[in-house]
């Protein structure tokens, strides 16, 4: 299984990861070798097997809808890299 530089670039955009040129090659190589390894799963016939996406027989879990104290804004914003007027500040979007 080989992964092209173009595919790596596409995935990096989806993952919001800015890659350097030398990293693209490295990821292409590493991802290729892991994907080649996981290709082993195709040895198994899984026709009719139900995918197991959750190990517990738990479905909807409800709790009482009660008003409880929440964290305050200052506490939450304390870890933010940039704050203005009690809000997160980010670079221009549009």
């Amino acid at each position: 299984m080989t992964i092209s530089i173009k595919e790596v670039e596409h995935v990096a955009v989806l993952a919001r990861l800015q890659l350097k040129e030398n990293e693209k090659e490295k990821y292409a190589r590493h991802m290729g070798s892991v994907l080649q390894y996981v290709d082993k799963l195709n040895q198994l016939d899984t026709e009719g097997v139900e995918p197991l996406d959750h190990i517990l027989p738990v479905f909807n879990v409800f709790r009482e809808d009660q008003v409880k104290p929440a964290s305050n804004r200052e506490e939450i914003l304390a870890n933010a890299p940039l704050v203005e007027a009690g809000q997160y500040k980010v670079p221009k979007i549009i």
Partner: protein, 486 residues
């Protein structure tokens, strides 16, 4: 005997008898940390002042019960209110949570003294603790070797007598594998037994909090405190919670133990196999029925893991975008550029690699071929276990294919490093409880015995582990912190 050398149970006895105070214990443990930490490097954060304060408050309260006065540490991806929680990542280097993870809150309420936060592979992705963005931790049995990972700091600290117990996590073996490499007890409860609230997520369908200790009974006590329903984690299910210490019985006569032939095949060190087979003979001697079984899909567990875990990780780690917490690259001119350069700078290589893999496996056109296929195989792996547990009470196997490897030895090729988890990953795929206990030594390095149980049957694991402990002394061996520092 110094206080820091005592187990949790022994410390409780000392406190009850009035032979030492919580402050005496904390000071002894801090002294030990000062003595050896330069060699071991288990702690990312050590809060000496806070620890002494907690201990003095504990002494002022008077009577000791529960974990009163017992020092402990948390893997540094378990949120601790007011104490940095870095995930061993530049991304969260200065992150101070304003709330406690449920497990941290429960240990605090039980009177435990939190000493600090322990090293790990960045965001729990790794098997050696070399992927920490800060520094590697070393194995107390040989400083040139890794402690395992990802909870390497927790395992090394408990082995080096820097702490009587610590919490880690286990997504594919991250508690059992380092416990095996460091010669301590490592316990991964059933998925859903212990709350994951406030534990920074790696792969949500696999993650579970784990316990490290030097005695099986200590592990049962800690489980009693951290296990049980939590309204803040909808996967932490409502079940009658037993008293886990009630299973500590030296009796395995009614147990039917299976050992899977696939866990003794090529790739598993012959010394490890022989050591584990000796343990199986011990169980037979103690009256258990021991038989070989097959878990035919075992070889597919690791490739399944390397699709499921990165896929879930790529979604979980999307939250680190430089907006609400953590590192931000301030050079970027627009918001998408800021996300991309923040993540490029903030995450280490292995984390980025897994995000890339997971994003690829979930991307349009590949979802069915990779992720869906993996989930189908995951069911086959679980059904293998169901079939064995229809006839047996317990599965026993090696925890790892070899003993601890040298620092730097397995950096480079991801697949070689991933092979360390080949015997532990299937347990997470099936959500079962698993445990590693010391069962011998090979050229001075500890060998771990892995016990695997039915879902929510932690009791049988604890009983079998306790019985083995009563008839061996491997758990009492002390590492000499030898080996050249590199």
């Amino acid at each position: 005997m110094e206080l820091y050398e005592l187990t949790l149970r022994e410390l409780q006895q000392v406190l009850h008898k009035g032979e030492a105070s919580a402050t005496d214990i904390t000071k002894s443990v801090l002294g030990r940390i000062h003595e050896v930490e330069e060699k071991i490097k288990a702690f990312i954060t050590l809060d000496e002042e806070g620890a002494i304060n907690q201990a003095q408050q504990c002494d002022a309260r008077g009577a000791y019960s529960g974990l009163d006065g017992i020092p402990y540490g948390l893997k540094d991806l378990i949120c601790s209110q007011g104490m940095k929680t870095t995930c061993a990542s530049r991304m969260l280097e200065n992150f101070v949570p304003f709330y406690d993870a449920t497990v941290a809150a429960r240990l605090k309420a039980a009177g435990g003294i939190l000493l600090g936060k322990l090293n790990l592979d960045e965001f729990a992705m790794g098997s050696s603790t070399e992927q920490s963005a800060f520094f590697p931790t070393r194995n107390p049995w040989d400083l040139t070797r890794v402690p395992g990972g990802s909870s390497g700091g927790s395992a090394a600290a408990v082995a080096a007598r820097e702490l009587p117990f610590a919490l880690g996590t286990d997504t594919g073996g991250s508690t059992r594998q380092p416990a095996s490499y460091c010669g301590v007890i490592g316990f991964k409860p059933t998925y859903g037994r212990v709350s994951r609230y406030g534990v920074v997520a790696y792969a949500s369908s696999l993650d579970q909090v784990g316990v490290f200790s030097r005695e099986v009974g200590d592990c049962a006590q800690v489980l009693n405190i951290i296990a049980g329903k939590d309204p803040l984690d909808s996967t932490c299910v409502e079940l009658e919670k037993p008293d886990f210490t009630s299973f500590l019985k030296d009796d395995v006569k009614d147990l039917k133990i299976a050992y899977p032939r696939e866990y003794f095949q090529k790739g598993i060190d012959s010394g490890v196999k022989d050591t584990v087979k000796q343990a199986l003979l011990k169980y037979e001697e103690l009256g258990a029925i021991v038989e070989e079984v097959s878990l035919p899909h075992s070889e597919y567990a690791l490739p399944t893991y390397y699709l499921v875990a990165p896929a879930e990780a790529s979604a979980n780690l999307a939250r680190f975008d430089g907006v609400r917490y953590g590192f931000r690259d301030f050079q970027a001119e627009n918001v998408v550029g800021m996300f991309s350069s923040t993540r490029a700078e903030g995450f280490g290589d292995e984390v980025k690699m897994r995000i890339m893999l997971g994003t690829y496996a979930l991307s349009s056109g590949y979802y069915d071929a990779y992720y869906l296929k993996a989930l189908k195989v995951r069911r086959l792996i679980k059904e293998d276990f169901d079939n064995v547990f229809a006839k047996f009470d317990l599965i026993v196997a090696p925890t790892t294919p070899t003993t601890a490897f040298k620092l730097g030895e397995q950096v480079g090729d991801p697949l070689t490093l991933y092979m360390n988890d080949i015997l532990t990953v299937p347990v997470n795929m099936a959500g079962l409880p698993g445990m590693s206990i010391p069962c011998g030594f090979l050229e001075g390095m500890p060998v771990g015995l892995q016990l695997i149980g039915r879902a929510f049957d932690e009791g049988t694991l604890l009983r079998a582990a306790y019985a083995f402990e009563q008839h061996s002394d491997y758990h009492q061996a002390k590492p000499d912190l030898g080996g050249e520092l590199i």
